[in-house]
Symmetry: C2
Subunit: 133 residues, 2 copies
């Protein structure tokens, strides 16, 4: 079983996936690989990753997410993560970790707005942040 | 950890989730419960379940899916599953299993069409099928 267990949904030109509460190395690597293949085969322009279940984000997971976003960008798509738990955000800051190239949004809907209204900026700019309210 | 590991995404009035390749009893029960809670808290009208990863559908999983759809209907929403693998469909038929009340579609996009164009039929009718092409 070389495929990830994380389903990747396609809606229009976007791919959507929800990450589980913990990202082990194998799962994350397989997911990154399958996502890249799906970006090409589906001709997708954006990726929405729901991370509301994710409870632990260590430096490895942060790096994997960054690499997934960098790969997507090379393939002409951008990545937005949605629903980060406050504790995860705090941990990331405490660890001094950034998610360069990864857009962030409070909810899947904000992420969709970001991806659908801003497709022209697929290019090389750094992470995009939404501050609702 | 009483919550399911299956992330439930909200987009507009729809909830989306992708099921893993195997549905164990606990996961399915927890998912059903959380989905019902989310239907109410998010005021959702439809549920799209991507089952393209699902490789095994036994009578238990079929019954759970049917119950999830029945619960959703009582809460005013309908359920469409998308991306069933041909082998799963064949197995279901061989086992004499139906998925009453569960709409089926070839892809998430067909499922979305079904859910967004047909919300008025949230009521008691049996499963809806899309035959693309």
């Amino acid at each position: 079983m070389s495929q990830t267990q994380i389903p990747i949904l396609r809606i229009g030109q976007l791919l959507l996936a929800g990450l589980p509460n913990e990202l082990d190395d194998l799962t994350t690597a397989q997911f990154g690989e399958e996502l890249a293949e799906r970006l090409v085969s589906d001709g997708a322009r954006g990726v929405l990753l729901d991370i509301s279940k994710l409870e632990i984000m260590d430096s490895y997971a942060a790096r994997m997410l960054t690499e997934i976003a960098a790969t997507a960008r090379l393939l002409g798509a951008r990545v937005v993560v949605a629903g980060m738990q406050p504790a995860v955000a705090i941990t990331l800051v405490e660890l001094g970790l950034q998610l360069p190239g990864v857009g962030t949004a409070m909810s899947t809907e904000h992420a969709l707005d970001l991806l659908t209204n801003d497709r022209s900026t697929t290019g090389g700019e750094a992470g995009h942040r939404v501050h609702p309210g």
